[in-house]
């Protein structure tokens, strides 16, 4: 049984020794394959298997160094592959910034949502008609369940010899009339039956005819039939009056307006500033309910909610309250968050022909920016890297001060990403692009970001951005940074300072008279302060130099500063 090659032969450097049993050894000893016991030798022979048994393979492996080496290397390869796969997954999860469980949760939610979007919506008892109703027939206020219960109750009380089945009546109107009559008879009979047996007649009747009302929605739906059975009134009416009343009541039953509203209507109500805050909040709440997983056409409702939310601003207190409450709700609403993330991830690249952004996409970007969620922030950055046309949308969305925290970091990160991709630069122009008009709290956060950053370009961006502050909140930090030993940051601070309003800069005029304050003088001259005219005249600048002073880039600012430094020296 020795059909193995003699593995003791010296292999050539180019060709390793080959053993016909290596594959069988690997299959059995590495992959745990047991099929060798049952295989057809003729079929396997061309594939590298010889006829072997378990014992012979064991003994062969002990002797054959080729198989030992192959087994050893294959084991190492398998281990390496497994390690690499594990590392890849761990790296990916770490990059995203959440655990694998959280990531999986998101995927599953997203998959469930996308998958259910393609399933036709089932008829359910949601409070909103999820799609515009095409049925022009008015909905019968008495529902099937009501009729069933009335019939059942009547049968229990043995009213009438033979009550027809509900299905027997083809005409709904006639059925309603019949139900009304029946209800009237029920009340009359029960009133008679309970007369004198209870102290509070109405209460006992009401208890008898509770019709198993369980919750608010059920109550509302069944009230059309049950309302006519109000004991305090019905006890004094004749059956015919009760019948008339029941039909009348059933026909004129007013249902809440929102029951008939489709998501578009609700969205319009949320946006309508002429409506009161409670009405807008109620519409928003209904819209939010319709966005949950499992709700029919949740995607449509979510889109409408996003459109409504994107158009909310912070113009008045009502808007602010509504906006803040809705954003709070969305932060805990997984279906909306997932939808936002999906929309951001499916944003087309800018170079695509059809890359014009739709209203829906814009709304998703605006809302995602304002929500302030780590997941969404990452998605926004990814989307921005794919399509830098949304940079303006992001900056604009954050100018509405509805985001609770993290807006400064998001702005800085977006700017950083754009610099990394070569779309933008670390200049005052882009600082203005991102930070001009932002909420005042952002500038305090910029100071913190500057202090904790270990990246020189980021510190420069912070300093430039501080120049967009509308008040003197960043003034002291910029002044302090002008004395920084890092020349680039000192220039950036001066450059940022020059962008502050004149009324803020006026308080620096006394300091500018100091001998070493040439950088401050350069900044004030660049800002166009009237008091700086005398220094400029003393420099006798030509037109190109004047242009450089007024509009030159930050990279040329050291040159401008040197003029003022040298002027001081000549004056001395």
């Amino acid at each position: 049984m020795s059909n193995s090659r003699d593995s003791s032969q010296q292999p050539s450097p180019q060709q390793r020794p080959v053993c016909t049993r290596t594959n069988a050894v690997l299959a059995v000893h590495l992959d745990g394959d047991l099929a060798y016991e049952t295989f057809d030798q003729e079929a396997y022979e061309p594939l590298g298997y010889g006829f072997v048994s378990n014992d012979s393979l064991h003994s062969h492996l002990r002797e054959c160094t080729t198989c030992q080496l192959a087994l050893d290397r294959a084991r190492r390869l398998d281990a390496e592959l497994a390690t690499m796969a594990g590392r890849d997954v761990a790296d990916q999860v770490a990059t995203i910034g959440c655990s694998l469980e959280q990531l999986g949760e998101r995927w599953l939610e997203c998959a469930a949502m996308v998958a259910t979007e393609h399933v036709p919506a089932r008829a359910n008892a949601t409070t909103i008609n999820s799609t515009p109703s095409t049925n022009t027939q008015p909905e019968d206020p008495i529902r099937a369940e009501d009729l069933d219960q009335i019939f059942e109750r009547a049968n229990q009380l043995r009213l009438g010899a033979q009550l027809p089945s509900r299905n027997a009546g083809a005409h709904t109107g006639r059925m309603i009339a019949f139900a009304g009559l029946l209800a009237a008879c029920l009340v009359t009979s029960i009133c008679i039956a309970t007369l004198g047996t209870t102290t509070e007649h109405g209460q006992s009747t009401q208890q008898t005819l509770a019709l198993n009302r369980t919750d608010e929605h059920q109550t509302h739906r069944k009230s059309s039939a049950a309302a006519v059975l109000a004991p305090t009134v019905t006890a004094k009416l004749s059956p015919s009056q009760l019948l008339t009343r029941s039909i009348h009541s059933a026909r004129n039953q007013k249902r809440p307006q929102q029951d008939r509203l489709v998501p578009e209507d609700l969205s319009l109500r949320v946006r309508n500033r002429d409506l009161g805050l409670p009405e807008r909040l109620a519409a928003a709440s209904s819209l939010l309910r319709a966005t949950h997983f499992g709700s029919s056409n949740a995607r449509h409702a979510t889109d409408q909610l996003l459109l409504a939310l994107a158009s909310c601003g912070d113009l008045n207190q009502a808007d602010i309250t509504l906006h803040a409450q809705l954003l709070d709700e969305i932060r805990n609403n997984n279906s909306v968050l997932t939808r936002l993330e999906n929309q951001l991830s499916s944003l087309p690249p800018r170079n695509r022909a059809h890359s014009k952004l739709s209203h829906q996409t814009l709304a998703a970007i605006i809302v995602a920016t304002r929500v302030g969620n780590t997941r969404l922030d990452l998605a926004i950055r990814r989307a921005l890297r794919r399509n830098n046309a949304i940079a303006e949308v992001i900056a604009g969305a954050l100018r509405c001060s509805m985001r609770v925290n993290g807006s400064t970091q998001l702005l800085l990160n977006c700017w950083n990403d754009q610099v990394a991709t070569g779309s933008q630069e670390n200049t005052a122009r882009w600082a203005t692009f991102w930070f001009r008009g932002q909420d005042i709290t952002n500038f305090a956060m910029l100071a913190q970001a500057h202090n904790r950053s270990h990246s020189a370009p980021e510190r420069v961006r912070c300093l430039l951005a501080m120049g967009c502050a509308p008040d003197d909140s960043t003034l002291q930090l910029l002044l302090a940074q002008m004395a920084s030993p890092r020349r680039v940051e000192a220039c950036a601070a001066a450059y940022g300072l020059a962008a502050l309003p004149h009324r803020v800069l006026k308080q620096l005029l006394p300091k500018s008279k100091s001998q070493n304050a040439y950088l401050l003088r350069a900044a004030l001259a660049r800002a166009g302060m009237p008091e700086a005219e005398q220094w400029i005249q003393a420099l006798a600048l030509r037109k190109p130099q004047m242009d450089l002073l007024r509009t030159g880039p930050i990279t040329r600012f050291p040159e401008i500063a040197s003029w003022f430094r040298n002027a001081r020296l000549t004056t001395d």
């Binding site: 049952t38 295989f39 057809d40 590298g48 390869l77 393609h118 690249p349 890297r385």
Partner: protein, 200 residues
């Protein structure tokens, strides 16, 4: 000399059946229980992601591939006949999708310098080890990419997921013998390309 005949040779394999627990979850899924669907699919996510990473270098594409697999799985749960295990079924979906990228790739990958996350811990004493590990990884990746789609999948499923040949054949929709040969051939080719790197 012929021993017992392997009836599966050259035919469709007999895949592993679903477990009792999976059967219970499946029943609940078919009644519309989303939580049961999630319980059914959640244990296989890391495996799916690992295989997706084997196909796609771009992590976003890998995520897209897994997401698309899950979406198909959710849509197809009602038609799943439970003739193979859920794991086999999920991997089969992913493998088929990976074979036809046009069916799930939404756009060209937008890899830019900003997409590349550089870990902070590069350097120091680990730098040399990391460099060696990265070189070996690159070589293995290169060797794996030279394999056929089936060979690459078979070797990954065997080495990383620890699947037996019957399960691999279920994923690849081939015979057990073919699955075995895919694994062995893939291993032989990769080792041939790695040469002495794997020994060191």
């Amino acid at each position: 000399m012929k021993r017992t005949m392997d009836t599966s040779l050259g035919k469709q394999p007999r895949p592993t059946a679903v477990t009792h627990q999976e059967r219970a979850w499946l029943a609940r899924c078919r009644q519309g229980d989303q939580a049961a669907c999630q319980s059914l699919l959640r244990p296989h996510l890391s495996g799916l992601l690992a295989l997706a990473r084997r196909y796609c270098r771009d992590p976003h594409w890998a995520e897209d591939l897994v997401q698309e697999t899950l979406i198909r799985a959710f849509k197809g749960l009602h038609n799943f006949r439970a003739e193979s295990s859920v794991r086999t079924w999920l991997f089969r979906i992913l493998v088929r999708l990976a074979y036809e990228p046009a069916r799930w790739q939404r756009s060209m990958p937008a890899t830019s310098i900003g997409d590349i996350d550089i870990p902070d811990n590069y350097g120091g004493n680990r730098a040399e080890q990391d460099a060696i590990a990265r070189e070996l990884k690159d070589r293995i990746d290169e060797a794996m990419e030279r394999l056929t789609h089936r060979q690459r999948t078979a070797l990954h499923l065997r080495a990383v997921e620890g699947m037996d040949y019957a399960t691999i054949s279920g994923v690849l929709n081939c015979s057990t013998t073919a699955a075995r040969m895919h694994v062995l051939e893939a291993r032989r080719k990769v080792l041939a390309r790695l040469k002495e790197h794997i020994d060191s």
